[in-house]
């Protein structure tokens, strides 16, 4: 007993030190996850790496760099209850059939909303110059990578008629694992100049960037809102939509 006591004391001291190290690591990781400054360029997806040289050149000429401003990128880490009310009064109501669309990626590939039937879809309307959209991008990427592709799909639609080069530059910068689609309207826009909404953007009642829709596996609107959103809320809505469908 007399011999064991000092050993026990050392073990408890070591355990205390271990708990302290864990607390420090958690604190450092939590601080490091703050998303206010825009993230550095991510590794582009395989599709973006193999994009046509002309598109790559045009995207390089855009000089894309994510915009930011104070207060941006903070709500993503908060709980669902931190979400703010939607600003646009024209968002489609729950239960409405999500307007079908057929749009193209900057590389010219076609994507239809109907392609994702049977999955819960997170539909994001964005602009490449929009700081809130840039703040959301790495969060959406992480969420898309962590959810089962058999049940969930992510699609971004450019909401201000930007050109293929700007959209490709944005998609490549963030290394997004889901398509970003062109929705051309008038006037045309780009990373340096806001354009007008395209027809699909108009049909979804988009009035702010980003706007999010969760579409259930039957193609009905399950939830919609605009502005940056807590990651947990988007995730929860997607889960609920997948279960409802």
């Amino acid at each position: 007993m007399g011999k064991a006591l000092p050993t026990a004391r050392w073990i408890w001291l070591g355990t205390g030190a271990l708990v302290l190290v864990i607390a420090i690591v958690a604190f450092v990781l939590a601080r490091g996850s703050g998303s206010s400054p825009p993230p550095p360029a991510a590794s582009p997806s395989a599709a973006d790496k193999n994009a046509p040289a002309a598109l790559v050149q045009a995207a390089d000429a855009v000089g894309f760099k994510p915009n930011t401003e104070p207060g941006v990128g903070e709500i993503e880490a908060k709980p669902p209850s931190a979400a703010l009310p939607a600003r646009s009064a024209d968002l489609l109501q729950r239960g409405t059939t999500a307007p079908p669309f057929t749009l193209k990626t900057p590389q010219g590939e076609t994507a239809r909303l109907a392609d994702f039937r049977g999955k819960a879809v997170l539909l994001e309307f964005f602009a490449t110059w929009c700081p809130h959209c840039a703040a959301e991008a790495p969060h959406l990427k992480a969420m898309a990578n962590s959810l089962a592709k058999s049940r969930f799909a992510f699609v971004s639609v450019n909401a201000d008629s930007e050109d293929a080069a700007s959209i490709f530059a944005y998609h490549r910068y963030f290394g997004l694992p889901f398509p970003a689609l062109l929705d051309p309207g008038a006037p045309a826009g780009n990373f340096h100049q806001q354009g007008g909404p395209g027809p699909v953007t108009t049909s979804y009642g988009v009035g702010a960037y980003p706007t999010f829709y969760v579409v259930d596996p039957r193609g009905k609107v399950f939830w919609a809102s605009d502005g940056e959103q807590p990651d947990a809320l988007l995730r929860m809505k997607l889960q609920a939509a997948a279960s409802a469908g």
Binding site: A8, L29, P80
Partner: protein, 162 residues
């Protein structure tokens, strides 16, 4: 009545199962910390300032618990913490279920994408049983507790389990 010589080995198996549960849960979460943070936030229980420290600290605590149980170090306190954590998880899931939230449990990271509900609660109750057994009867066969501190194995014939 003579105690079976197999009992210490059964106790060791219980301890290794409890250790395995925590190690798998912790390592699986480390593989997707961002997703786990989103899952913790989705419960809407901790204040927003605590979501990230919890999400980034819990996997390491789970791995630490698993390692302690694996090595048989401070078996009873580790088992006590295991049971307390499991009760906390069960309570948090029960309130989410009662509120009708459709969220992922987040219990085993990307290894299991179970939605919170009766199934996940019953599973956690079952997973708490090995730790509860160890809390009552600390299994110290092939343990550091026994080697370093001279503590007895509650599963051994005549073991007091102090």
């Amino acid at each position: 009545m003579r105690a079976s010589p197999l009992l210490p080995w059964i106790g060791l198996a219980v301890r290794l199962i409890a250790a395995g549960i925590w190690l798998v849960a912790g390592v699986a979460k480390l593989g997707g910390l961002t997703a786990f943070r989103q899952e913790v936030a989705a419960y809407d229980v901790p204040p927003s300032g605590l979501v990230e420290p919890i999400a980034y600290g819990l996997p390491f605590i789970e791995i630490g618990l698993g390692a302690y149980l694996l090595l048989g170090l401070l078996v009873r306190p580790a088992a006590g913490l295991s049971v307390a954590l499991m009760l906390l998880f069960i309570g948090v899931q029960a309130q989410a279920w009662a509120r009708g939230l459709t969220i992922e449990c987040g219990c085993f990271g990307s290894l299991s994408r179970q939605t919170v509900g009766l199934g996940s609660i019953l599973r956690d109750i079952a997973l708490a049983l090995p730790s509860l057994l160890l809390l009552i009867w600390p299994a110290r066969h092939l343990s550091l507790d026994r080697r370093l501190l001279g503590r007895s194995d509650a599963f051994a014939p005549g073991g007091a389990g102090r």
